[in-house]
């Protein structure tokens, strides 16, 4: 894979950011737990395509996104429930509902495949948003790596706390022991049905913001902004995206 670079940016970018983005792109290209590398890259491409979808624009403008019917303008590489999930999570995340999530699984998307899809979408949205903020073009998507998905589901994952099953709070057992320590917020556990997506999340979060375990202590900060400035930005994005959490 060609190394990711921000040499085209007008401002210097600290090296841990392109390094984290490059690791995310490497993982994006590789087979996951429920999708092949080619499918994961297709999810990434569909995520970018969603911003150009007329149905998504109409839904975003409507009082209820579920009042607008229509077919997404998709790239044709993924099943319809996956396309719908990618488009809605990308363009109107604050208005996805539990009923919609349950319909999505009933339509044939496995719960683990859904969680991994969310992990891929949020990785691409975040890295693309960083590029857009800096005024540089988005990075080319990686060439997919061959191989089957692992079908790995952590034995300790339990349903009930959220729409998706998650590992319980507290230090995870066995192969997931590296995922988190004490003080982990729910949002960092949310993708734990697919542990590698938590690893990607933590790697990116460490470069962009803070270690997830550091978030609860307001004295923690990184870079040139103070913590209040960081939280002002976080709160504004959450409000604009209508995120209750």
């Amino acid at each position: 894979m060609t190394p990711l670079s921000y040499a085209a940016a007008a401002l210097p970018v600290r090296p841990d950011l392109p390094a984290a983005h490059e690791r995310a792109w490497t993982r994006l290209a590789a087979p996951g737990a429920w999708w092949t590398g080619a499918e994961r890259v297709s999810i990434a491409a569909e995520c970018r395509n969603a911003w150009r979808c007329a149905v998504c624009r109409e839904r975003k403008a409507s009082l209820s996104p579920y009042a607008v019917s229509g077919v997404h303008a998709d790239l044709g590489a993924l099943p319809e429930p996956a396309v719908d999930a990618i488009h809605r999570i990308t363009t109107d995340p604050g208005r996805v509902s539990r009923a919609w999530f349950e319909r999505t699984l009933q339509a044939g998307l496995d719960e683990g495949a859904y969680v991994e899809l969310v992990g891929v979408v949020v990785t691409v949205v975040s890295v693309d948003s960083f590029c857009r903020g800096l005024g540089v073009p988005p990075h080319p998507l990686p060439e997919p790596l061959a191989g089957p998905p692992s079908r790995y589901r952590p034995a300790a994952a339990r349903p009930g706390e959220a729409w998706v099953a998650m590992l319980p709070a507290g230090r995870p057992p066995g192969a997931e022991a590296d995922l988190w320590g004490p003080g982990i917020p729910n949002v960092a556990r949310a993708l734990s049905l697919v542990p590698d997506e938590v690893r990607t999340l933590k790697d990116l979060t460490r470069a962009h913001y803070l270690e997830p375990e550091q978030v609860v202590d307001p004295r923690n900060r990184r870079g040139a902004l103070d913590r209040m400035q960081m939280e002002l930005l976080a709160g504004r994005v959450s409000a604009l995206r209508e995120c209750f959490y």
Partner: protein
């Protein structure tokens, strides 16, 4: 807050879909914040473009202590109008009572948090 308006304008432009508006905000914000802080701010905004989608797409509830401490504040800010508020169960009598007891402490704690989170 130092550069508060500039940071808000940057977040608004990055979440918005007007490329020209974003370019204008970028041109104004970068000299005000300085190059290092500007890149840090872009990194934080793009981080939360990830986190809000994870929270909303997986239906996680608020973390327990946060839920308890912020019952009033959420009402005051009108956050219950967001669809994802349904993912956090309504508190029972016991938690509501605990929330009322903790209300003054939570306000004080927020002030302390505000002080220590500034450099």
């Amino acid at each position: 807050m130092l550069h508060g308006e500039t940071l808000l304008a940057l977040a608004d432009a990055m979440v918005g879909d007007d490329a020209d508006a974003l370019a204008r905000v970028r041109d104004g914000a970068s000299p005000k914040l300085g190059p290092v802080a500007f890149v840090d701010a872009v990194a934080v905004v793009s981080n939360f473009e990830r986190m809000v989608r994870i929270a909303d797409a997986t239906g996680i509830p608020l973390d327990g202590r946060l839920e308890l401490m912020t019952q009033d504040l959420r009402q005051e800010l009108g956050l219950e109008r967001f669809g994802a508020a349904a993912n956090t169960p309504q508190p029972g009598l016991g938690r509501r009572a605990a929330g009322r007891v903790l209300r003054p402490l939570a306000r004080g704690a927020l002030r302390v948090v505000g002080r220590v989170s500034r450099r």
